[in-house]
Protein backbone atom coordinates (compact mmCIF):
# COMPACT_ATOMS: atom_id res chain seq x y z
CA UNK A 1 0.00 0.00 0.00
CA UNK A 2 1.24 3.47 -0.68
CA UNK A 3 0.97 7.18 0.07
CA UNK A 4 0.07 9.73 -2.57
CA UNK A 5 0.44 13.45 -1.79
CA UNK A 6 -0.68 16.07 -4.30
CA UNK A 7 -0.16 19.83 -3.93
CA UNK A 8 -0.76 19.92 -0.21
CA UNK A 9 -0.58 23.36 1.42
CA UNK A 10 -1.33 24.34 4.99
CA UNK A 11 -1.08 27.65 6.77
CA UNK A 12 -1.57 28.61 10.40
CA UNK A 13 -2.66 32.28 10.31
CA UNK A 14 0.44 33.99 8.84
CA UNK A 15 2.73 30.99 8.90
CA UNK A 16 2.96 28.87 5.77
CA UNK A 17 3.65 25.50 7.34
CA UNK A 18 3.49 23.55 4.06
CA UNK A 19 3.72 24.94 0.55
CA UNK A 20 2.56 22.90 -2.41
CA UNK A 21 3.94 19.54 -1.33
CA UNK A 22 3.73 16.61 -3.73
CA UNK A 23 5.35 13.19 -3.60
CA UNK A 24 4.58 9.48 -3.44
CA UNK A 25 5.73 6.72 -1.16
CA UNK A 26 5.78 3.25 -2.68
CA UNK A 27 4.43 0.17 -0.95
CA UNK A 28 6.96 -1.39 1.40
CA UNK A 29 9.29 1.58 1.18
CA UNK A 30 11.25 3.05 4.10
CA UNK A 31 10.88 6.74 3.28
CA UNK A 32 12.57 9.49 5.26
CA UNK A 33 11.31 13.05 5.68
CA UNK A 34 14.47 14.91 6.63
CA UNK A 35 14.44 18.41 8.00
CA UNK A 36 14.94 20.54 11.11
CA UNK A 37 12.41 21.80 13.61
CA UNK A 38 9.78 23.97 11.97
CA UNK A 39 10.19 22.43 8.52
CA UNK A 40 6.62 21.15 8.37
CA UNK A 41 7.18 17.45 9.06
CA UNK A 42 4.67 17.15 11.92
CA UNK A 43 2.06 19.18 10.03
CA UNK A 44 2.36 16.82 7.05
CA UNK A 45 2.09 13.77 9.31
CA UNK A 46 -1.02 15.11 10.96
CA UNK A 47 -2.63 15.68 7.58
CA UNK A 48 -1.76 12.17 6.40
CA UNK A 49 -3.01 10.53 9.61
CA UNK A 50 -6.29 12.48 9.30
CA UNK A 51 -5.76 14.68 12.35
CA UNK A 52 -5.55 17.94 10.43
CA UNK A 53 -7.16 19.18 7.23
CA UNK A 54 -5.01 20.82 4.56
CA UNK A 55 -5.95 24.18 3.03
CA UNK A 56 -5.22 22.94 -0.47
CA UNK A 57 -4.38 19.70 -2.21
CA UNK A 58 -5.28 16.05 -1.78
CA UNK A 59 -3.70 12.94 -0.33
CA UNK A 60 -4.39 9.24 -0.12
CA UNK A 61 -2.99 6.67 2.29
CA UNK A 62 -3.32 2.97 1.52
CA UNK A 63 -5.75 3.97 -1.24
CA UNK A 64 -8.05 5.96 1.06
CA UNK A 65 -8.63 9.70 0.80
CA UNK A 66 -7.43 11.49 3.95
CA UNK A 67 -10.59 13.57 4.16
CA UNK A 68 -13.50 11.52 2.81
CA UNK A 69 -12.23 8.08 3.93
CA UNK A 70 -10.57 9.10 7.17
CA UNK A 71 -12.10 6.30 9.22
CA UNK A 72 -10.57 3.63 7.01
CA UNK A 73 -7.18 5.25 7.36
CA UNK A 74 -7.40 5.37 11.14
CA UNK A 75 -7.93 1.61 11.22
CA UNK A 76 -5.02 0.79 8.99
CA UNK A 77 -2.18 3.07 10.04
CA UNK A 78 0.15 3.11 13.02
CA UNK A 79 1.22 6.53 14.31
CA UNK A 80 3.99 7.43 16.67
CA UNK A 81 3.83 11.19 17.26
CA UNK A 82 6.78 13.37 18.17
CA UNK A 83 6.39 13.51 21.92
CA UNK A 84 5.88 10.47 24.06
CA UNK A 85 2.13 10.14 23.99
CA UNK A 86 1.34 6.95 25.84
CA UNK A 87 -0.23 6.80 29.28
CA UNK A 88 2.48 7.64 31.80
CA UNK A 89 0.64 6.10 34.72
CA UNK A 90 -0.19 2.81 33.05
CA UNK A 91 2.45 0.10 33.02
CA UNK A 92 4.16 -1.12 29.87
CA UNK A 93 1.83 -4.09 29.69
CA UNK A 94 -1.27 -2.04 30.45
CA UNK A 95 -0.47 0.42 27.66
CA UNK A 96 -0.06 -2.38 25.15
CA UNK A 97 -3.30 -4.06 26.20
CA UNK A 98 -5.12 -0.74 26.02
CA UNK A 99 -4.08 -0.04 22.45
CA UNK A 100 -4.71 -3.59 21.33
CA UNK A 101 -8.23 -3.38 22.74
CA UNK A 102 -9.18 -0.08 21.16
CA UNK A 103 -8.04 -1.39 17.78
CA UNK A 104 -10.22 -4.44 18.32
CA UNK A 105 -7.39 -6.95 18.58
CA UNK A 106 -5.29 -8.68 21.22
CA UNK A 107 -1.59 -8.70 22.07
CA UNK A 108 -1.37 -12.37 21.13
CA UNK A 109 -2.85 -11.93 17.66
CA UNK A 110 -0.02 -9.86 16.25
CA UNK A 111 2.67 -10.65 18.78
CA UNK A 112 5.03 -11.95 16.09
CA UNK A 113 5.26 -8.45 14.66
CA UNK A 114 6.34 -6.77 17.86
CA UNK A 115 8.19 -9.65 19.49
CA UNK A 116 11.73 -8.51 18.61
CA UNK A 117 11.06 -5.11 20.11
CA UNK A 118 8.93 -6.14 23.05
CA UNK A 119 11.42 -8.66 24.45
CA UNK A 120 13.75 -5.73 25.16
CA UNK A 121 11.25 -4.01 27.41
CA UNK A 122 9.46 -7.11 28.70
CA UNK A 123 11.61 -7.23 31.88
CA UNK A 124 10.04 -3.87 32.74
CA UNK A 125 6.47 -4.75 31.86
CA UNK A 126 5.20 -3.93 35.32
CA UNK A 127 6.87 -0.53 35.35
CA UNK A 128 4.81 2.60 34.72
CA UNK A 129 5.53 4.05 31.30
CA UNK A 130 6.39 7.44 32.80
CA UNK A 131 9.35 5.86 34.61
CA UNK A 132 11.01 4.39 31.54
CA UNK A 133 14.17 5.83 30.01
CA UNK A 134 13.92 7.65 26.66
CA UNK A 135 15.05 4.66 24.62
CA UNK A 136 12.59 2.31 26.31
CA UNK A 137 9.72 4.74 25.83
CA UNK A 138 10.43 4.74 22.10
CA UNK A 139 10.32 0.96 21.98
CA UNK A 140 7.04 0.83 23.85
CA UNK A 141 5.49 3.51 21.64
CA UNK A 142 6.57 1.57 18.57
CA UNK A 143 4.96 -1.61 19.88
CA UNK A 144 1.71 0.22 20.54
CA UNK A 145 1.77 1.65 17.02
CA UNK A 146 2.23 -1.83 15.55
CA UNK A 147 -0.12 -3.87 17.72
CA UNK A 148 -2.95 -3.86 15.16
CA UNK A 149 -0.70 -4.78 12.22
CA UNK A 150 -0.98 -1.50 10.29
CA UNK A 151 -0.29 -1.30 6.57
CA UNK A 152 1.46 2.03 6.92
CA UNK A 153 3.53 3.27 9.84
CA UNK A 154 4.05 6.97 10.52
CA UNK A 155 6.94 7.78 12.87
CA UNK A 156 7.37 11.45 13.71
CA UNK A 157 10.92 12.06 14.98
CA UNK A 158 11.06 8.77 16.85
CA UNK A 159 14.72 9.19 17.80
CA UNK A 160 14.94 12.82 18.86
CA UNK A 161 16.46 13.06 22.31
CA UNK A 162 17.48 9.44 22.31
CA UNK A 163 21.13 8.35 22.71
CA UNK A 164 23.11 6.98 19.75
CA UNK A 165 22.95 3.35 20.88
CA UNK A 166 19.17 3.34 21.20
CA UNK A 167 18.94 5.22 17.91
CA UNK A 168 20.92 2.58 16.11
CA UNK A 169 18.85 -0.21 17.68
CA UNK A 170 15.67 1.58 16.68
CA UNK A 171 16.72 1.78 13.03
CA UNK A 172 17.74 -1.86 13.04
CA UNK A 173 14.18 -2.62 14.18
CA UNK A 174 12.72 -0.47 11.39
CA UNK A 175 14.72 -2.35 8.77
CA UNK A 176 13.38 -5.65 10.10
CA UNK A 177 9.81 -4.29 10.06
CA UNK A 178 10.22 -3.21 6.49
CA UNK A 179 10.86 -6.82 5.56
CA UNK A 180 7.39 -7.65 6.88
CA UNK A 181 5.96 -5.48 4.11
CA UNK A 182 4.96 -2.44 6.12
CA UNK A 183 5.33 0.94 4.42
CA UNK A 184 7.18 3.27 6.76
CA UNK A 185 7.25 7.05 6.59
CA UNK A 186 9.65 8.40 9.19
CA UNK A 187 10.77 11.94 9.91
CA UNK A 188 14.04 12.89 11.55
CA UNK A 189 16.36 15.85 11.99
CA UNK A 190 19.35 13.47 12.12
CA UNK A 191 20.99 13.55 8.72
CA UNK A 192 22.95 10.36 9.30
CA UNK A 193 19.68 8.46 9.67
CA UNK A 194 18.67 9.67 6.20
CA UNK A 195 21.30 7.37 4.73
CA UNK A 196 19.37 4.38 6.11
CA UNK A 197 16.21 5.12 4.10
CA UNK A 198 15.30 3.85 0.62
CA UNK A 199 14.41 7.36 -0.48
CA UNK A 200 14.33 10.69 1.30
CA UNK A 201 12.70 14.09 0.94
CA UNK A 202 14.68 17.04 2.27
CA UNK A 203 12.28 19.60 3.70
CA UNK A 204 12.82 23.09 5.12
CA UNK A 205 10.39 25.95 5.82
CA UNK A 206 7.45 24.07 4.37
CA UNK A 207 9.07 23.33 1.03
CA UNK A 208 10.64 20.19 -0.40
CA UNK A 209 14.25 20.85 -1.39
CA UNK A 210 14.88 17.52 -3.09
CA UNK A 211 13.57 13.94 -3.26
CA UNK A 212 15.68 10.94 -4.24
CA UNK A 213 17.69 8.03 -2.90
CA UNK A 214 20.34 9.08 -0.38
CA UNK A 215 23.09 8.07 -2.80
CA UNK A 216 21.66 10.13 -5.65
CA UNK A 217 21.14 13.19 -3.46
CA UNK A 218 24.71 13.14 -2.31
CA UNK A 219 25.95 12.80 -5.90
CA UNK A 220 24.15 16.07 -6.71
CA UNK A 221 26.46 18.04 -4.45
CA UNK A 222 27.82 20.66 -6.81
CA UNK A 223 31.37 21.26 -5.62
CA UNK A 224 34.42 19.39 -4.39
CA UNK A 225 34.53 19.30 -0.58
CA UNK A 226 37.68 19.30 1.47
CA UNK A 227 38.32 18.07 5.02
CA UNK A 228 40.47 20.71 6.68
CA UNK A 229 42.07 20.28 10.10
CA UNK A 230 44.64 22.21 12.11
CA UNK A 231 45.95 22.50 15.64
CA UNK A 232 43.14 24.79 16.84
CA UNK A 233 39.55 24.32 15.67
CA UNK A 234 38.27 27.74 16.74
CA UNK A 235 41.09 29.66 15.03
CA UNK A 236 40.69 27.45 11.98
CA UNK A 237 36.97 28.25 11.67
CA UNK A 238 37.62 31.97 12.10
CA UNK A 239 40.43 31.98 9.54
CA UNK A 240 38.40 30.07 6.97
CA UNK A 241 35.41 32.38 7.52
CA UNK A 242 37.69 35.35 6.87
CA UNK A 243 39.15 33.84 3.68
CA UNK A 244 37.70 35.79 0.77
CA UNK A 245 37.38 32.82 -1.58
CA UNK A 246 35.28 30.64 0.68
CA UNK A 247 31.92 29.31 -0.47
CA UNK A 248 31.07 27.32 2.65
CA UNK A 249 32.76 26.60 5.96
CA UNK A 250 31.11 24.02 8.18
CA UNK A 251 32.63 22.17 11.12
CA UNK A 252 32.07 18.43 10.98
CA UNK A 253 33.48 16.79 14.08
CA UNK A 254 37.26 16.89 13.98
CA UNK A 255 37.36 18.48 10.51
CA UNK A 256 35.93 21.50 8.79
CA UNK A 257 34.17 20.88 5.47
CA UNK A 258 35.39 23.58 3.16
CA UNK A 259 34.31 24.53 -0.37
CA UNK A 260 35.82 27.26 -2.45
CA UNK A 261 34.33 29.83 -4.86
CA UNK A 262 36.87 29.28 -7.58
CA UNK A 263 36.78 26.49 -10.16
CA UNK A 264 40.57 26.35 -10.23
CA UNK A 265 40.98 26.07 -6.48
CA UNK A 266 44.39 24.84 -5.38
CA UNK A 267 44.53 23.58 -1.78
CA UNK A 268 48.14 24.75 -1.50
CA UNK A 269 46.96 28.38 -1.63
CA UNK A 270 44.68 27.72 1.31
CA UNK A 271 47.48 26.04 3.23
CA UNK A 272 49.74 29.03 2.78
CA UNK A 273 46.96 31.35 3.94
CA UNK A 274 46.28 29.27 7.04
CA UNK A 275 49.95 29.14 7.90
CA UNK A 276 50.02 32.92 7.68
CA UNK A 277 47.34 32.87 10.37
CA UNK A 278 49.73 30.98 12.65
CA UNK A 279 47.97 27.65 12.36
CA UNK A 280 49.98 24.47 12.27
CA UNK A 281 49.42 20.74 11.65
CA UNK A 282 47.34 21.71 8.66
CA UNK A 283 45.74 18.98 6.59
CA UNK A 284 43.57 19.54 3.53
CA UNK A 285 42.14 16.43 1.89
CA UNK A 286 39.35 15.91 -0.58
CA UNK A 287 36.34 14.15 0.88
CA UNK A 288 32.86 13.06 -0.21
CA UNK A 289 29.70 15.02 0.50
CA UNK A 290 27.25 13.75 3.10
CA UNK A 291 23.50 14.28 3.24
CA UNK A 292 24.12 17.02 5.77
CA UNK A 293 26.44 18.90 3.39
CA UNK A 294 23.83 18.62 0.64
CA UNK A 295 21.05 19.75 2.94
CA UNK A 296 22.94 22.86 4.02
CA UNK A 297 23.85 23.71 0.43
CA UNK A 298 20.24 23.39 -0.71
CA UNK A 299 18.94 25.33 2.27
CA UNK A 300 21.27 28.29 1.71
Amino acid sequence: MSIHISNISKSYKNVKALQDISFDVNAGELFGLIGPDGAGKTTLFRILTTLLIANEGTATVAGFNVVSDYKNIRNSVGYMPGKFSLYQDLTVEENLEFFATIFGTTIEENYELIKDIYVQIEPFKARRAGKLSGGMKQKLALCCALIHKPKVLFLDEPTTGVDPVSRKEFWDMLKRLQQKNITILVSTPYMDEAALCDRIALIQDGKILEIDTPEAIVKHYPKPIYNVSANNMYQLINSLNAYKHNHSVYPFGEFVHYTDNRTDFNPEDLKVYLESKNLSNINIDKTVATIEDTFMELAK
Binding site: G35, P36, D37, D163, P164, V165, M233, Y250
Partner: protein, 242 residues
Protein backbone atom coordinates in the same frame (compact mmCIF):
# COMPACT_ATOMS: atom_id res chain seq x y z
CA UNK B 1 42.64 25.88 47.53
CA UNK B 2 43.84 27.70 44.45
CA UNK B 3 43.90 25.67 41.32
CA UNK B 4 42.68 25.86 37.79
CA UNK B 5 39.68 23.60 38.32
CA UNK B 6 36.25 25.18 38.20
CA UNK B 7 34.54 21.88 38.85
CA UNK B 8 35.95 19.30 41.20
CA UNK B 9 34.06 16.09 41.91
CA UNK B 10 35.10 13.23 44.18
CA UNK B 11 33.13 10.06 44.83
CA UNK B 12 29.85 11.85 44.11
CA UNK B 13 26.91 9.54 44.63
CA UNK B 14 23.13 9.78 44.40
CA UNK B 15 20.82 7.04 45.52
CA UNK B 16 17.06 6.83 45.28
CA UNK B 17 16.14 4.20 47.85
CA UNK B 18 18.04 1.08 46.78
CA UNK B 19 18.78 2.36 43.33
CA UNK B 20 22.18 3.99 42.72
CA UNK B 21 21.70 6.52 39.96
CA UNK B 22 25.15 8.05 40.21
CA UNK B 23 27.86 5.79 41.54
CA UNK B 24 30.85 7.56 43.12
CA UNK B 25 31.95 9.59 40.11
CA UNK B 26 35.24 11.49 40.24
CA UNK B 27 36.50 14.07 37.76
CA UNK B 28 37.52 17.70 37.38
CA UNK B 29 36.99 20.39 34.74
CA UNK B 30 39.48 23.17 34.06
CA UNK B 31 38.73 26.83 33.48
CA UNK B 32 37.94 27.60 29.84
CA UNK B 33 37.49 23.96 28.94
CA UNK B 34 34.69 22.67 26.73
CA UNK B 35 33.75 19.52 28.59
CA UNK B 36 31.40 17.01 27.00
CA UNK B 37 29.30 15.01 29.46
CA UNK B 38 27.86 12.08 27.56
CA UNK B 39 25.99 8.92 28.31
CA UNK B 40 23.05 6.82 27.22
CA UNK B 41 19.54 7.64 28.39
CA UNK B 42 19.23 6.36 31.92
CA UNK B 43 22.99 6.39 32.56
CA UNK B 44 22.75 9.04 35.27
CA UNK B 45 23.83 12.18 33.38
CA UNK B 46 20.86 14.34 34.27
CA UNK B 47 20.96 13.25 37.90
CA UNK B 48 24.67 14.10 38.06
CA UNK B 49 24.12 17.49 36.42
CA UNK B 50 21.35 18.35 38.84
CA UNK B 51 23.75 17.85 41.74
CA UNK B 52 26.39 20.02 40.10
CA UNK B 53 24.03 22.91 39.47
CA UNK B 54 22.79 22.87 43.04
CA UNK B 55 19.24 21.64 42.59
CA UNK B 56 19.64 18.13 43.96
CA UNK B 57 21.33 17.01 47.15
CA UNK B 58 24.00 14.34 46.75
CA UNK B 59 23.77 11.22 48.90
CA UNK B 60 27.52 11.19 49.50
CA UNK B 61 30.86 12.31 48.07
CA UNK B 62 32.22 15.77 47.42
CA UNK B 63 31.79 18.39 44.73
CA UNK B 64 32.92 21.95 44.23
CA UNK B 65 31.48 24.09 41.48
CA UNK B 66 32.74 27.61 40.74
CA UNK B 67 34.51 27.46 44.08
CA UNK B 68 31.43 26.55 46.12
CA UNK B 69 30.56 23.33 47.89
CA UNK B 70 27.41 21.73 46.46
CA UNK B 71 26.28 20.59 49.91
CA UNK B 72 26.59 23.87 51.76
CA UNK B 73 26.50 26.63 49.14
CA UNK B 74 24.03 25.53 46.50
CA UNK B 75 22.51 29.02 46.29
CA UNK B 76 25.89 30.59 45.57
CA UNK B 77 26.44 28.05 42.82
CA UNK B 78 23.17 29.01 41.17
CA UNK B 79 24.25 32.65 41.09
CA UNK B 80 27.63 31.84 39.57
CA UNK B 81 26.63 29.56 36.75
CA UNK B 82 24.55 29.72 33.60
CA UNK B 83 22.13 26.97 32.66
CA UNK B 84 20.29 26.18 29.48
CA UNK B 85 18.29 23.12 28.57
CA UNK B 86 16.12 22.03 25.69
CA UNK B 87 13.14 21.61 27.93
CA UNK B 88 13.23 25.00 29.51
CA UNK B 89 15.06 28.01 28.27
CA UNK B 90 12.95 31.13 27.82
CA UNK B 91 9.37 32.24 28.44
CA UNK B 92 7.39 31.80 25.24
CA UNK B 93 4.82 34.39 26.15
CA UNK B 94 7.30 37.13 26.86
CA UNK B 95 9.05 39.05 24.09
CA UNK B 96 12.77 38.79 23.34
CA UNK B 97 13.42 42.04 25.22
CA UNK B 98 11.21 41.05 28.13
CA UNK B 99 13.03 37.74 28.52
CA UNK B 100 16.41 39.44 28.57
CA UNK B 101 15.19 41.96 31.14
CA UNK B 102 13.61 39.25 33.26
CA UNK B 103 16.66 37.00 33.42
CA UNK B 104 18.97 39.97 33.85
CA UNK B 105 16.89 40.94 36.86
CA UNK B 106 16.97 37.43 38.31
CA UNK B 107 20.75 37.40 38.13
CA UNK B 108 20.89 40.73 39.95
CA UNK B 109 22.11 42.95 37.12
CA UNK B 110 21.51 46.69 37.45
CA UNK B 111 18.96 48.35 35.15
CA UNK B 112 21.75 50.11 33.34
CA UNK B 113 23.65 46.87 32.82
CA UNK B 114 20.52 45.11 31.59
CA UNK B 115 19.96 47.86 29.03
CA UNK B 116 23.56 47.59 27.83
CA UNK B 117 23.47 43.81 27.65
CA UNK B 118 20.12 43.84 25.89
CA UNK B 119 21.44 46.07 23.11
CA UNK B 120 24.58 43.95 22.73
CA UNK B 121 22.75 40.63 22.62
CA UNK B 122 20.09 41.81 20.20
CA UNK B 123 22.70 43.21 17.87
CA UNK B 124 25.05 40.21 18.05
CA UNK B 125 22.25 37.79 17.29
CA UNK B 126 20.64 39.95 14.60
CA UNK B 127 17.32 40.05 16.44
CA UNK B 128 16.54 43.75 15.90
CA UNK B 129 13.43 43.04 13.84
CA UNK B 130 11.99 40.60 16.38
CA UNK B 131 13.07 42.24 19.62
CA UNK B 132 9.44 42.97 20.54
CA UNK B 133 8.03 39.69 19.32
CA UNK B 134 7.02 36.85 21.59
CA UNK B 135 9.76 34.27 21.87
CA UNK B 136 7.21 31.53 21.18
CA UNK B 137 6.93 32.86 17.63
CA UNK B 138 10.63 32.49 16.87
CA UNK B 139 12.10 29.52 15.02
CA UNK B 140 13.78 26.98 17.29
CA UNK B 141 17.30 27.84 16.17
CA UNK B 142 16.87 31.52 17.11
CA UNK B 143 15.39 30.56 20.48
CA UNK B 144 18.36 28.33 21.23
CA UNK B 145 20.89 31.00 20.36
CA UNK B 146 19.03 33.58 22.42
CA UNK B 147 18.74 31.14 25.34
CA UNK B 148 22.42 30.55 25.30
CA UNK B 149 23.19 34.27 25.34
CA UNK B 150 20.68 34.88 28.12
CA UNK B 151 22.17 32.05 30.19
CA UNK B 152 25.44 33.96 30.10
CA UNK B 153 24.02 37.43 30.71
CA UNK B 154 25.67 37.65 34.13
CA UNK B 155 29.08 36.57 32.80
CA UNK B 156 29.17 33.30 34.74
CA UNK B 157 32.36 31.28 35.14
CA UNK B 158 30.66 28.11 33.98
CA UNK B 159 27.70 27.50 31.73
CA UNK B 160 25.83 24.16 31.80
CA UNK B 161 24.15 23.22 28.53
CA UNK B 162 21.77 20.28 28.57
CA UNK B 163 21.29 18.99 24.98
CA UNK B 164 21.15 22.51 23.61
CA UNK B 165 20.93 21.63 19.90
CA UNK B 166 18.33 18.86 19.72
CA UNK B 167 16.24 19.09 16.52
CA UNK B 168 17.85 22.31 15.38
CA UNK B 169 18.81 22.64 11.68
CA UNK B 170 22.42 21.79 10.77
CA UNK B 171 23.45 25.34 9.94
CA UNK B 172 22.14 26.80 13.18
CA UNK B 173 23.73 23.93 15.12
CA UNK B 174 27.10 25.01 13.85
CA UNK B 175 26.44 28.68 14.53
CA UNK B 176 25.57 27.66 18.06
CA UNK B 177 28.86 25.84 18.45
CA UNK B 178 30.73 28.87 17.16
CA UNK B 179 29.11 30.77 20.02
CA UNK B 180 30.32 28.08 22.40
CA UNK B 181 33.86 28.28 21.04
CA UNK B 182 33.83 32.05 21.40
CA UNK B 183 32.69 31.85 25.01
CA UNK B 184 35.32 29.25 25.87
CA UNK B 185 37.96 31.33 24.15
CA UNK B 186 37.03 34.18 26.46
CA UNK B 187 37.53 31.99 29.51
CA UNK B 188 34.02 30.66 30.20
CA UNK B 189 33.97 26.97 31.02
CA UNK B 190 31.34 25.06 29.05
CA UNK B 191 29.83 21.85 30.41
CA UNK B 192 27.67 20.34 27.69
CA UNK B 193 25.65 17.19 27.14
CA UNK B 194 24.64 16.16 23.66
CA UNK B 195 23.44 13.18 21.65
CA UNK B 196 25.11 14.45 18.48
CA UNK B 197 28.39 12.58 18.38
CA UNK B 198 29.96 14.99 15.89
CA UNK B 199 29.50 17.64 18.57
CA UNK B 200 31.40 15.44 21.01
CA UNK B 201 34.40 15.99 18.75
CA UNK B 202 34.29 19.74 19.37
CA UNK B 203 34.92 19.21 23.08
CA UNK B 204 38.36 19.42 24.69
CA UNK B 205 37.59 16.37 26.79
CA UNK B 206 34.64 14.03 26.94
CA UNK B 207 33.34 11.78 29.69
CA UNK B 208 30.94 8.92 29.06
CA UNK B 209 28.64 7.61 31.76
CA UNK B 210 27.35 4.05 31.74
CA UNK B 211 25.02 2.78 34.48
CA UNK B 212 25.91 5.50 36.93
CA UNK B 213 29.68 5.35 36.51
CA UNK B 214 32.14 7.25 34.34
CA UNK B 215 33.57 4.58 32.07
CA UNK B 216 35.73 6.83 29.88
CA UNK B 217 37.21 10.29 30.23
CA UNK B 218 39.72 11.73 27.77
CA UNK B 219 40.16 13.88 24.70
CA UNK B 220 38.16 12.72 21.66
CA UNK B 221 41.44 11.90 19.93
CA UNK B 222 42.67 9.66 22.75
CA UNK B 223 39.30 7.96 23.10
CA UNK B 224 39.22 7.09 19.41
CA UNK B 225 42.75 5.70 19.66
CA UNK B 226 41.88 3.75 22.80
CA UNK B 227 38.85 2.09 21.20
CA UNK B 228 40.48 1.80 17.79
CA UNK B 229 37.77 3.65 15.89
CA UNK B 230 37.77 6.84 13.84
CA UNK B 231 34.74 8.67 15.20
CA UNK B 232 33.03 9.37 18.52
CA UNK B 233 29.83 7.61 17.50
CA UNK B 234 31.73 4.32 17.38
CA UNK B 235 33.45 5.05 20.71
CA UNK B 236 30.04 5.51 22.23
CA UNK B 237 28.62 2.36 20.68
CA UNK B 238 31.56 0.25 21.86
CA UNK B 239 31.39 1.59 25.37
CA UNK B 240 27.65 1.73 25.91
CA UNK B 241 27.12 -1.73 24.49
CA UNK B 242 29.46 -3.11 27.14
Amino acid sequence: MKNNNVIQVEGLTKMFGDFTAVNAITFEVKKGEIFGFLGANGAGKTTAMKMLIGISNPTSGKANVAGFDVFTHAEDIKKSIGYMSQKFALYHDLTVKENITFFGGIYGLSRKRIKEKSAILIEELGLEKVANKLVGALPLGWKQKLSFSVSMIHDPKIVFLDEPTGGVDPITRRQFWEMIYKAANQGTTVFVTTHYMDEAEYCDRVSIMVNGKIEALDTPKQLKAQFEVDNMNDVFLKLARG
